[in-house]
C-alpha cells in the first residue's frame, strides 16, 4: 500500500504548472496579453539609450521620448504584421490588383509564419490533452521537413496531386515516428516524455546535420544544403512572387479543425481527454491507456512533422542548416495560451505569427531588437502561469479552481 503511493503520486511540478495554466480564465488570458505588451513597452524604454539622453535634458522630454519610442516600436510591429492600413485603403480604391497584393503582403507573410505555429500548436495541445508534455515538437518539425523534402526531390514524374500529399504524408510519418518513440518508451519503461522528447530533439538535430552535410547534400552547393524539391512537390502558392502565402495555411487550419473534431466529437477523443485527466479512472473504465498514450504521442508528432513538411514544400523548397526554428518551443507557450483547445490554437498561432513576422519590420524600422518580442511572449506566459499577479494588479475577485479542488478532494483518503 505504501509502495503504491510512490508509483501513483507522479504529480510533479509540470502537471501542477500545466493545471494552473489550463485553468485560467479568458479574462486572465486577455489581461496577460495586455500586460505582456505593457511590460514589453517598459523594456523598450529601459533599453533605449535615447530615452536616457532625453531624461538627461529634462524630465518632460524624457517622458515624451519614451512615449515616442514605444509608439514607434509598436506601430512598426503593427505595420509589419498587418500592413499599412492607409496603403491598403488606397490600393483597394485604385483597384489595381498588383497594388492590392503589395499592400496585403505583410499580412500574407504573417500568415506564412503562422502556418507552422498552427501545426505545432495543435500538436502540442493534442499531447497535453492526453496528459503528455510534448517538448519534442522542434525535433519532429525537423525530421518532418527533411523527410518531406526527400520525398519532394526523390520521386520524379508524379503529378502534383499525388506528389504533394505523398510528401506531406512522408513528413507526417517521420514526425509521427519521432513522437511514437517517446510514447512507446513512456508506456514500456515509464521514461518521462519530457526527458525523452528533449533527447529526441538532439537526435533529430544532429541527424539532420549529418544528412545535410553528406548523404543528402546537394553536391553543387558550397555550403551544406539539400537539393531543391521538384516543382511537382511545391505546395500551391496563391500569389505570384514574392508573396509566399501557400496552401499549407489552409491545411493547417483543416488539421486544427480535425483535431478539435477528434477530441470533442469522437469516442477516441473522449478516451484521449479521459486518459489525460485521470489515467487511473480511465484504466478502471476499461480504456487502453497504453494504446491511447502511444497513439496520441505519435499523432502529435505527426502533426508537428507536417509543420516541417509544409515549410519545406511551401516556403523554403530545400533544407539548409538554418531550419532550427524555435517553432517547437514557442508552440508549447501558444498551446497553453489556447488552453489546449485546437480552435483556440488558431487564434494564438495567429498572435504568435503576427508578432514574429511584425518583429522583423519592427527591428528594421524602429531599431528595437527582435528579442523584445520573445521577452514579451515570455511575459504573457508568465502572467498566465502566475495568475495571482494579474489578479492583484487588476484586483480581480479570486475564484481559483485549484483551491476548490483541494477542498473537494474530501474523502479520497490516500493510503
Amino acid at each position: 500500500m505504501k509502495n503504491k503511493k510512490n508509483s501513483d503520486d507522479k504529480r510533479n511540478f509540470i502537471s501542477i504548472f500545466y493545471e494552473e495554466l489550463s485553468n485560467s480564465s479568458l479574462t486572465i488570458i486577455i489581461l496577460s496579453i495586455i500586460s505582456g505588451f505593457i511590460m514589453g513597452g517598459i523594456l523598450v524604454i529601459l533599453t533605449s539609450p535615447e530615452v536616457y539622453k532625453a531624461f538627461g535634458t529634462s524630465f518632460l522630454s524624457g517622458i515624451s521620448t519614451s512615449w515616442k519610442i514605444v509608439a514607434n516600436t509598436y506601430s512598426s510591429l503593427f505595420l509589419g504584421a498587418l500592413g499599412d492600413p492607409a496603403k491598403i485603403g488606397a490600393a483597394i480604391q485604385s483597384g489595381d490588383s498588383a497594388l492590392i497584393q503589395k499592400a496585403f503582403t505583410p499580412f500574407l507573410e504573417s500568415l506564412v509564419v503562422t502556418t507552422p505555429y498552427l501545426f505545432t500548436g495543435v500538436a502540442v495541445a493534442l499531447g497535453f490533452r492526453a496528459g503528455l508534455f510534448n517538448i519534442g515538437a522542434e525535433g519532429q518539425v525537423l525530421v518532418g521537413a527533411i523527410a518531406a523534402g526527400w520525398a519532394g526531390w526523390t520521386f520524379t514524374g508524379l503529378s502534383p496531386w499525388i506528389h504533394v500529399p505523398l510528401a506531406m504524408l512522408v513528413g507526417a510519418l517521420a514526425g509521427g515516428l519521432w513522437g511514437f518513440v517517446p510514447g512507446f518508451l513512456k508506456v514500456r519503461t515509464g521514461a518521462h516524455e519530457v526527458i525523452t522528447t528533449i533527447m529526441m530533439n538532439y537526435v533529430a538535430y544532429y541527424l539532420i546535420y549529418y544528412l545535410i552535410s553528406s548523404p543528402l547534400r546537394d553536391p553543387n552547393e558550397v555550403t551544406p544544403k539539400t537539393p531543391w524539391i521538384l516543382d511537382s512537390a511545391h505546395l500551391y502558392r496563391f500569389f505570384p512572387e514574392p508573396i509566399r502565402f501557400h496552401l499549407g495555411f489552409f491545411i493547417a487550419i483543416a488539421v486544427a479543425i480535425l483535431v478539435w473534431f477528434i477530441l470533442f466529437k469522437t469516442t477516441w477523443g473522449f478516451e484521449i481527454r479521459s486518459v489525460g485527466l485521470n489515467p487511473n479512472a480511465s484504466k478502471y473504465a476499461g480504456m487502453n491507456i497504453t494504446l491511447v498514450t502511444v497513439a496520441a504521442m505519435a499523432l502529435s508528432g505527426a502533426i508537428a512533422g507536417m509543420a516541417g513538411a509544409s515549410e519545406i514544400l511551401g516556403v523554403t523548397w530545400r533544407q539548409s542548416q538554418a531550419l532550427a526554428s524555435g517553432y517547437g518551443f514557442d508552440s508549447i507557450a501558444l498551446a497553453l495560451l489556447a488552453q489546449n483547445h485546437p480552435l483556440g490554437v488558431i487564434l494564438t498561432a495567429l498572435l504568435f505569427g503576427l508578432l514574429r513576422s511584425g518583429s522583423r519590420v519592427m527591428q528594421l524600422r524602429a531599431g528595437t531588437p527582435i528579442y523584445i518580442i520573445n521577452i514579451l511572449q515570455s511575459f504573457i506566459i508568465l502572467f498566465i502561469a502566475a495568475p495571482a499577479i494579474i489578479r492583484t494588479i487588476y484586483r480581480l475577485k479570486k475564484q481559483s479552481v485549484k483551491e476548490v479542488s483541494t477542498s473537494t478532494i474530501s474523502f479520497s483518503a490516500k493510503k
Binding site: M1, S274, A281, G286, E403, T408, S412, A413
Partner: protein
C-alpha cells in the same frame, strides 16, 4: 465569556448553488461540536470558509468575541484555527518531525534546521495528548490512523485552539476510530475546541457534546446526544423518516456467476497479498468480504476487475476465464465496479457529470456509433440519471469536482447501476455518504440482488456487511479465513475473526454452514 468561535450569517453561493445560507454557529471552549448534514448540505464549504480557503459572500466570524477576517489558511492558523483535511497533506518521504516543522521551522543560529528541538516538542505533545507518535518515523511507513495523528500534531505544534476535522473517521478502522475519540476527549480536556464532521450517527452519539444539523445550507436544528437518538438525527438531517435498517427478503440463488479458484496476487515487492483465495458467487446473493483495511481486499478487487494480473489461480466470470483479461473485457461481460477510491479510480474530476456517466459505455449505442459521440444521447442519459439517483447538482455540465463527496459517489453508482449487469463488485460503496443515501444505495444493491445479480460487497463497515450480506467471508492477511452464512454469526464473533483471533465461535457451527454451502 464569549464563545471561542462564533459564525454569524455566513452565506456562500456557487454558480447555481446556495451552499451556505446565513449560517449561525457557536463553538464553546472545550467542547466537541458535531456538524451533521446530508451530502451537499454545505458542511465542507462552511469549514473551508472558516479555514480561509473560500471567501464568504456574507457573514462574520468572531473569535473570543472579536471579529476576525480570515482570507487565507495563514490567517486561520494565526487565529488559532487548524484543519485536518480528509486527504492528508503529508510528504511521505519525510519524517514526522520534518512534516510537522514544514512551514514552521525551528532554526539554530546560522539558519540551520533544529530538528531536535522540534522533535522534543513533538514528543512532549504526543505525551500530553497520548498520541503515541514517534517523531523519527517516516510518514510513508505509518498506517492511516497514525498519519492522521501526525496531522493533529501539526495543528497542535502551531498552537491551534480550534480543530476542524472533516470526516476524519471515513478512512479509519473501528479500532482507530475508538483511539481517535480518546484523543479528541483528551484534547478538549486540555481546553481545545473541536468541530467534527461525520455521517456516522453512532459516532456522533458517542463523542459529541453538541450537535448542529445542516440541511440545504441552513442550520435546521441543534441538539445533544442525550436528547437525540440516531433515528431522530437521521430525520433531522434528511427531513424525512429514514429506515436505518434495510429490510431484505431471503434471496433465491441462481447459477454461479463468479468463481475464484486458488487466486494468488503479489504486490510490487512480490509479497503475497492475496493468498490462495477460493470462493464462488451465485446470482441472487450478496457475499460480503469483511476484514480490517489492508488485509488484501483491495488487491483482490483489483485482480477481479482486471487492473492487476494475478500471480496464479483462476477467475471465472460467467464461465469465461478472465484471469488475464483487460478491464474492458470484464466490464463487457456484465460486471460493474464501485471502486474503493472514488476520486482516483472512479471519476474524472475535471470532466462533466454527463461525461463521467458514460465513462465505460461511451463506445456503445446510443452514446456513439463507435466513432462519433452522440451528445444528445449522452446528455439525455445524464439528465435521467441525475433525476433518478438524486444527484444534487446545478446541471449535467457541472464538473464532478465541484460536487460534494456524497454526490460524487452517486455519480459512480448511477453509472454502474444503469447498465445491464450480472456481477457487481462494490468496495466501500457508502463511504462518506449520508444516512439517506446509504439507505438508498443499500436498497438498490438489494434490488440488484433480487434481480439475480451477483454482488461482491467489500466493506470495512461491519454493520454494512451484516445488514446486506447473505454470506460473509472474512479476509485476514490475504487469506479468506472463513465463509459463513450471515445469520450464523454475531457482529462480535465477526469482529474477533477479523482481528485474526482463532474463531471462538464453535467450530461445529462453521463446519455446518460450510457443509450447507457445499450443498447449495
Amino acid at each position: 465569556m464569549p464563545p471561542i468561535l462564533e459564525l454569524k450569517g455566513i452565506t456562500k453561493r456557487f454558480p447555481g448553488v446556495l451552499a451556505n445560507d446565513h449560517i449561525d454557529i457557536k463553538l464553546e471552549k472545550g467542547e466537541i461540536l458535531a456538524l451533521l448534514g446530508e451530502n451537499g448540505a454545505g458542511k465542507t464549504t462552511l469549514m473551508n470558509i472558516l479555514y480561509g480557503l473560500y471567501k464568504p459572500d456574507e457573514g462574520e466570524i468572531f473569535i473570543n468575541g472579536a471579529k476576525v477576517e480570515i482570507s487565507s489558511p495563514i490567517d486561520a492558523i494565526r487565529s488559532g484555527i487548524g484543519m485536518v483535511h480528509q486527504h492528508f497533506m503529508l510528504i511521505p518521504v519525510f519524517t514526522v518531525t520534518e512534516n510537522v516543522m514544514l512551514g514552521e521551522e525551528y532554526t539554530r543560529p546560522g539558519g540551520f534546521l533544529d530538528r531536535n528541538k522540534a522533535a522534543d516538542r513533538i514528543r512532549e505533545l504526543s505525551e500530553t495528548y497520548k498520541l503515541n507518535v514517534n517523531p523519527d518515523d517516516l510518514v510513508e511507513n505509518l498506517p492511516v490512523g497514525l498519519q492522521q495523528r501526525v496531522e493533529i500534531i501539526k495543528l497542535l505544534f502551531r498552537n491551534a485552539d480550534i480543530l476542524i476535522m472533516d470526516e476524519p473517521t471515513a478512512v479509519l478502522t473501528p479500532q482507530e476510530v475508538d483511539e481517535l475519540f480518546n484523543i479528541l476527549k483528551k484534547l478538549v480536556e486540555k481546553g481545545k475546541s473541536i468541530i467534527f464532521i461525520t455521517h456516522k450517527l453512532r459516532e456522533v452519539m458517542e463523542c459529541a457534546d453538541r450537535i448542529e444539523v445542516i440541511r440545504s445550507g441552513k442550520v435546521v436544528g441543534a441538539t445533544t446526544p442525550a436528547e437525540a437518538s440516531p433515528e431522530k438525527l437521521a430525520t433531522m438531517m434528511v427531513g424525512r423518516e429514514v429506515d436505518l435498517i434495510t429490510d431484505k427478503k431471503p434471496g433465491d440463488l441462481r447459477e454461479t456467476v463468479l468463481t475464484v479458484d486458488k487466486l494468488c496476487v503479489r504486490d510490487f515487492h512480490s509479497h503475497v497479498v492475496v493468498d490462495d483465495v477460493t470462493f464462488e458467487l451465485h446470482g441472487g446473493e450478496i457475499l460480503g468480504i469483511a476484514g480490517v483495511q489492508g488485509n488484501g481486499q483491495t488487491e483482490l478487487v483489483r485482480a477481479l476487475t482486471g487492473l492487476k494480473t494475478p500471480f496464479s489461480g483462476k477467475i471465472i466470470i460467467s464461465e469465461k476465464d478472465v484471469s488475464r483479461s483487460s478491464p474492458r473485457r470484464i466490464t463487457e461481460l456484465g460486471s460493474a465496479h464501485i471502486p474503493e477510491d472514488r476520486q482516483k479510480d472512479g471519476l474524472i474530476l475535471a470532466s462533466s457529470i454527463a461525461e463521467n456517466l458514460v465513462l465505460n459505455t461511451y463506445f456503445h449505442r446510443p452514446f456513439s456509433n463507435g466513432i462519433i459521440l452522440e451528445r444528445l444521447a449522452i446528455d439525455e442519459n445524464a439528465n435521467e440519471l441525475v433525476r433518478k439517483f438524486d444527484i444534487r447538482t446545478p446541471g449535467i455540465k457541472t464538473l464532478v469536482h465541484s460536487l460534494s463527496g456524497g454526490n460524487q459517489q452517486k455519480v459512480i453508482i448511477a453509472r454502474e447501476f444503469s447498465r445491464p449487469i450480472k456481477l457487481l463488485i462494490a468496495s466501500q460503496p457508502t463511504r462518506g455518504l449520508d444516512v439517506g443515501s446509504i439507505e438508498y444505495i443499500h436498497s438498490r444493491i438489494i434490488e440488484k440482488r433480487d434481480e439475480g445479480c451477483a454482488v461482491l460487497l467489500v466493506s470495512t463497515e461491519l454493520d454494512e456487511i451484516m445488514q446486506l450480506s447473505d454470506r460473509i467471508a472474512v479476509m485476514f492477511r490475504g487469506k479468506i479465513i472463513t465463509i459463513v452464512k450471515a445469520n450464523a454469526v454475531t457482529k462480535e464473533e465477526l469482529g474477533l475473526i477479523m482481528a485474526g483471533v482463532t474463531p471462538t465461535i464453535n467450530k461445529k457451527k462453521i463446519e455446518n454452514t460450510q457443509a450447507r454451502e457445499i450443498i447449495t
